[in-house]
Symmetry: C2
Subunit: 269 residues, 2 copies
């Protein structure tokens, strides 16, 4: 089953375009270890999401044990929920092949984020895994995004050049784009360039992006294909013993708010 099919099935089953970023920061955990924390968050929320997205930085920061903890975390996620490796990898051909093998074959992720700076041959080894999703960074949610992504190239900003190249490269139909919720006008612009592409949209919650405009500008014409990622607002909804329950409440609230900004889906609650 392709990533797109798995994502759509999970989204429809759970009536959700919410993705939870599994980014555990040991300094913020409420008296449990990282693995216990991830397990509790997943058990409390897996019927409310369309995907999970662990950011590999938080596992690398745990040292040599980190990837073992990541691997165990993945086993707690129901097999019908797709998992996106937020890795933002980008390297030359033979190295990109090693990264793609690591993420897709070794760890078994369903999708990964990649950086466009090195161009097509840095992305090709990922898209060659045709059943996997590949999200290219386009217009990111952070303040520094404008340093290069907004530079005018041939009459349009660099992030638009990336979006156009992504359309050209999408011969296997498995490319998506990362576009931050913090810049709704840019999000709308990318959606107009890529009307059918899946967009991964971080930046609501702790980063300050507005959910209504993220959903309104990011969803496609059918009200689909906009994955809204939230990490800290859900993971650390409470920093007490009731963290999992609080995470569920926060996740359900965001899920419903996303849905309230989408056209109603036939047969959906």
């Amino acid at each position: 089953m392709s990533f797109a099919d798995k994502l759509l099935a999970a989204s429809r089953r759970n009536s959700s375009w919410l993705c939870i970023g599994l980014d555990p920061d040991p300094e913020l955990l409420p008296g449990v270890d990282v693995l216990q924390f991830n397990k509790a968050i997943i058990e409390a929320t897996s019927d409310l999401v369309c995907a999970y997205k662990p950011n590999l930085a938080f596992y690398e920061a745990l040292g040599t044990e980190g990837f073992g903890i990541l691997e165990k975390t993945l086993t707690y996620i129901p097999t019908d929920i797709p998992i996106i490796a937020d890795a933002k990898r980008g390297d030359i051909g033979n190295t990109a092949r090693a990264y793609a093998r690591a993420l897709f074959s070794v760890f078994g992720f369903d999708a990964a984020t990649v950086s466009p700076y090195l161009g097509f041959d840095s992305i090709e080894p990922f898209i060659n895994y045709r059943d996997k999703g590949v999200f290219i960074l386009c217009r990111t949610s952070n303040r520094g995004a404008s340093d290069f992504q907004d530079l005018c190239t041939d009459g349009r900003p660099l992030y638009e050049a990336v979006a156009r190249k992504a359309v050209e490269w999408n011969v296997c139909g498995n490319i998506g784009l990362v576009v931050g919720a913090t810049y709704p006008e840019e999000l709308k612009r990318v959606r107009s360039i890529c009307p059918d592409m899946c967009l991964l949209i971080p930046g609501v919650g702790a980063q300050g992006g507005d959910l209504a405009s993220a959903v309104g500008c990011g969803a496609d014409a059918r009200g689909e294909n906009a994955i809204i990622n939230v990490s800290r607002q859900i993971l650390y909804a409470s920093r007490e013993k009731d963290f999992a329950r609080a995470a569920r409440t926060a996740a359900d609230h965001i899920r419903q708010e996303i849905n309230s900004h989408l056209p109603p889906r036939p047969g959906a609650e």
Copy 2:
């Protein structure tokens, strides 16, 4: 001791601007495991290099054991030889902090490569480690580099805009740039924008870059600050039992060839 001082000391001690990329590909190893291979390569070459550069992709591709193998590999490298993590990381602020902590505090690398696409706040957490070196991708050695890096932004190619920003951001003096040997004209251009900056230059050997022009265009006015990285041409000089001896011969040959294109150093052999 800063990365720059450690690098210069190693370079002068070994009369070498050669960096060996420790990128072990299990399919190419001559009947030894990755750790044995790395240990033998390091023991055979540590008096011939100015630095080692493991690319993290090759360790991630080994699965959950990979980072343990990387950590053990680092212990084989003499403490006076700097180690560059070729990671090409680039993420938003709190995630970039986790990556910087992973590479510099947890693994103890002396320097790391980072991607510029997300702008200043993705790089700031790295340069805040003032004793560590931070190499920003500028003009890479691969074919696809031209897809975005050569796009004209405000009258100059994107890679030049990156080089200029790197100069502006280099308030701690610990920023360097990655510029591929495969594009000597671009390398010369970057050197003219950044006359004093350390350049990390991959792309000679298997990738086809010319060593003479890499050294000629990449070295600064004193004939220094140009780290020439070679991986496959040394690691796989022989794929038989004599691989370590062959690696030493190849490394010494390249080291001497680099030196032959540099102005003679006072007191150097």
